[in-house]
Homo-oligomer: 211 residues x 2
DNA sequence: TAGATTGTTAATCGATTAACAATC
DNA sequence: TAGATTGTTAATCGATTAACAATC
């Protein structure tokens, strides 16, 4: 059974990973919690606590942690080693951008199929075959796909979501600006432009008020 | 002077906004904190506390809050009414997707210019003119642009960021998978695919462990 | 009035930081 | 050994929830 972990920690782990990989390409083999913390402007105790949650390994006093082992531990904890297959629905601008993104494989996600309502014949984008939406349910079921990525316009997002869930997808990664309704055992992660803009606009406003 | 507000609350505000707009299009004119809370699976006290932070208006017992006034308060608090001009650098797949996205104006952001290293002549995408990167610093300075959106490959992201900052941009919205170094008075918001994938992968792993 | 909803004060919960002993 | 770094226990801080009086 896998440990429960605070979401706050979970969000920091990819950042640690990024810093650690940077250290590694700089030729380091060991690193201290304080080094990681300094790079990310976190407290060193926070980093130590987080790392203790994701690995059984203990750091070595006056030496720190072995870089490679630590990277492996975090990646394994995050599930980057077990490959999850995904489909992407909605091959518009955003869909194409995601299909061309190289970083998914490093995170244990592989987009194996794309679907679009306008796909009249099978084409491929970045080596991923694109099928018409009408064969979606069937293919997903047969291939036991676990992740559905929704990049359709918001008006069709819920309908697409319903088909994905019915076809057995376990997680939905939603880029449409709408809240989706799903059964309680389905994971939904919303990629939320409005949230980002809210944070940026509000911070900008503060800045203006102070200057 | 504008009130400080917890980031957690700030992230919930756009969600409230979305729910409130949905209520409004369903013909409602008033709503209670409990209604909003139910829709988002939050506690009603949390919603009341959050709303109290962003508006001077008081809710009316046995009636709730006036929808339209509440929407206006949140939007004004988030700074959606003061328009911030933005430029986008890197007109690849992702850049094009953002340029075609309609939702920015509702959030007080207007992408007025795009730049790309391969723009040999001025073209437009979705009515936004695209210039060559070499005229970027000059144009941004002259137009007093406040937000820079970075959608270039990660190897050129820091260089682009430096130019944006030097040209007077106050906030950076970074889509490149790299941590940017900026002066302390510059706002950076990272749009982080790896973070999202970390959350999804980890939750999927839990699911597998339990079933 | 009774009931629904409000806002506020106090209690709880969780996450971060401080202090410190342990150890290579 | 001395110094740097570790992990752990206790203290602090902040956010959420519970309890309750107020009011339309």
């Amino acid at each position: 059974m896998i440990k429960e972990i605070p979401e706050k920690t979970l969000r920091r782990l990819p950042q640690y990973l990024s810093v650690l990989k940077q250290f590694r390409s700089a030729g380091e083999t060991y690193c201290s919690a304080a080094q990681i913390a300094a790079e990310l402007s976190f407290s060193d105790i926070l980093v130590r606590k987080d790392l203790a949650l994701v690995t059984e390994d203990k750091g070595v006093p006056n030496q720190g942690r072995e870089l490679l082992a630590l990277i492996r531990s975090i990646e394994s904890f995050l599930g980057y080693n077990t490959l999850n297959e995904a489909v992407l629905v909605g091959v518009g601008m955003l869909g194409r951008a995601l299909l061309s993104y190289k970083g998914f494989n490093d995170c244990g996600v592989d987009i194996v199929l794309g679907f679009d309502i306008r796909a009249d014949k099978v084409t491929t984008i970045n080596n991923t075959p694109i099928y018409h939406t009408k064969v979606m349910a069937n293919l997903i079921k047969r291939m036991h796909i676990s992740i559905g990525i929704i990049t359709v316009p918001k008006d069709s997002a819920q309908a697409v979501c319903d088909v994905l869930v019915a076809a057995g997808v376990k997680a939905i990664w939603n880029f449409a600006p709408i809240r989706l309704h799903v059964p309680s055992d389905i994971i939904v992660h919303n990629e939320n432009m409005a949230e980002s803009l809210a944070l940026i606009s509000n911070k900008l406003q503060h800045l203006g008020g102070n200057s």
